[in-house]
Symmetry: C2
Subunit: 445 residues, 2 copies
Amino acid sequence: MYLDLIVIRECLWEWVRRLKTYDCIIVGAGILGLATAYHIKMKAPNDTILIVDKFEGPGFGDTSKSAAAFREFFYSRANILLARSTIDFYWDLQKNQGIDLGIKWIGYLFLMSHSEFESLVPILKKMSREGIEYKTYLPEDLEDVGFRTHVLKDEEARLMNLKNIDVGLFIPRAGILKIENIVKFYETELKQLDVDIMYRTEVKGFILEPTKPIGIPEEPFPWQEIKVSGIRTNRGTFRAKRKIVVAVGAWCESLLNPIGIGVPIRPKKRQIFVLRAENKSLLKLLRSPKFNKEEILPVTILPRGIYIRPEPSENAFWVGYADKLGRAYTLEEDPQPEEEFYIYGIYPVLTKYIPQFIDIRPINAWAGHYDINVVDGVPIVHEEANLIVVGGTSGSGIMKADALGRIVAATYIGEEYAELYGGIKIRAKDLSLSERRIEPEKLVI
Amino acid sequence: MYLDLIVIRECLWEWVRRLKTYDCIIVGAGILGLATAYHIKMKAPNDTILIVDKFEGPGFGDTSKSAAAFREFFYSRANILLARSTIDFYWDLQKNQGIDLGIKWIGYLFLMSHSEFESLVPILKKMSREGIEYKTYLPEDLEDVGFRTHVLKDEEARLMNLKNIDVGLFIPRAGILKIENIVKFYETELKQLDVDIMYRTEVKGFILEPTKPIGIPEEPFPWQEIKVSGIRTNRGTFRAKRKIVVAVGAWCESLLNPIGIGVPIRPKKRQIFVLRAENKSLLKLLRSPKFNKEEILPVTILPRGIYIRPEPSENAFWVGYADKLGRAYTLEEDPQPEEEFYIYGIYPVLTKYIPQFIDIRPINAWAGHYDINVVDGVPIVHEEANLIVVGGTSGSGIMKADALGRIVAATYIGEEYAELYGGIKIRAKDLSLSERRIEPEKLVI
């Protein structure tokens, strides 16, 4: 009986929604779609918004698969601004508004050889000018923490062509957060702002219409000026009076290719393996007091790019590696972690630098996608034919989501500049394809 | 008996080729692959080259589907240099070396409204500085030729939101050519240069190897530095000692996605319809003496972008239209022209501006793809992990092929600058993704 009532209520709501025309339709209730809806509401409070998502809840796509770490340590000035202002916004919520987002400023620690550090020096100088702080640690400090720095004593490591760790580069303005709390924050706000969200609603295609219709059913013709005016979904057709935002991350290509909108965003599978700190030496590593007030190991990046992200609440480490050449650009509807990837891709290097992990097997694992901007590694906010695409976050979308939401909102209402949290302004079209003006990123992890 | 001998000879050759390791493997015997092989041979005469192609002969893919027109009328300086030097190279062959490439300098004629012309003025000024000449024609001149300029007298045209033709913008340094003759030229040269070409040879995948192998069969591992070292095909596996060039146009994504190399190149279907000049008024249009010494109508672009490319040897016009929004980015293995596209997409506009085409139906038609650089419309020459991609010619590859071949050759041998025909030098990495330095194109037709 109770369930029946729920079903009836759902049906009624769906019927109401179909009758309603929205000003704005946002495809995707991941972190980017949610932040976008929030900031459009801030800018245009009277505009009605519908968010649709194919999954069962907010952030259920690749948002939930994230490593949930953040840094403002980027090469590209655009990326620095996006990340810094987003993190400041999140931090203000947690520190001053009493909303726990699980932010811990544990920092990032890059472990590298002398030659790698040398090649990074010009980049670090440039980043210093952008206000990014760092400090370095010596091998003996790192040995204290529990890293094996002099791996070349080991014949196997030499054969593997590994290098010694000569420098630990520590970035204090970085850390970890709880992505589900951030999703919850935006979702709660959106409810109060009367934004409608429909889950289990998959976009099958877009409605194209001539900007100046003749009024015959075969429209639009190829020679007409065409705009995107609505979406077709498994739960009916919805039209947007003003604009449509596509915030679908890895699904970008498969949604936009059919209507001939081209953005250089491709999906690549990413995996995270959970390793329990199940012995004293791993607990000592996890609770290392050397780097931050939290007395937690920073998010650590080993010489080959394998990263270790502490999850102190579970006494665990999340370990991942963003493999490049050889890992296909392809979309999997339900990506699964690959045991062999841990065994052959991560374990051999991980245990050379941190022998405490020898014989440790993952207790859990999951997989998602990066939505990679294959050209420059900086996010894209691009408007074309009434449709705004936001994506290409290349593995660092959560830490830039709030700023990107503001830039989409500015694009939506036609403002030239978007004001990010903290007051810095950025020209919205700097992130477009047609008038793009950004430095390519060099630090995609 | 004779056929048997041919088969045996083929088998023997294939056996010899498999034993042979090549310095360079080029995937694709279209115009880009052929020009590339030619210029690598010019730069590195002792390097052995194998070209493989899935089709039965040279240029049998989208090269043969081209509209076979050329212009140096581009906005982007890079595109101007690529097209100008390639056309000069072709023209030298025809004029001074006695190789008939079917080049006719009939020019391009853009028909447009005042407001379209006004918005083009800053672009034209910039192009003038690059040495591009143009002249304009008045509506009365154009009426003489056979165009209907004042379409707004027609109620249907008003309903269709068409505009009057107020200006004819004529570009003399442009024309048509015979693509099969250019293909033949390169192919003949390559035979003399001992370049091996294998047709009906489809690449199924690439061989990835560590740059510093350990020597165990599971290699390469994700944490190793990896390079592309060979190809797997339906006719066996081939390795390149030096580098591999991928010059596959529309097939770029489907070949490179699986190994995780991302280039912003997408295929879009393009169609050409052949209309016979079957009455006096169409013959008069075709043989218009007003514009050039050939006394042939220039390649003409109508206000909505429909183009008419004369084929005087057949007393015909090739008519096409590069539809944008609404035309999917997708690859068809055997793309077919769509009758409805002519009927609804081309005919209504074509006959408003050139009523002589009323009731004329195509006597022939074909379809191919553009390989579109979705970001900036300028070709890409990008090296990554021992593999050089050349593509993204966005519908103007034939008129840039020779220059692109030279840039790939410079990249292949590691020269910073490529010298184009005529002596102009261009920094090879200006066309790469990692150090790209070009102006985006604004005139993709």
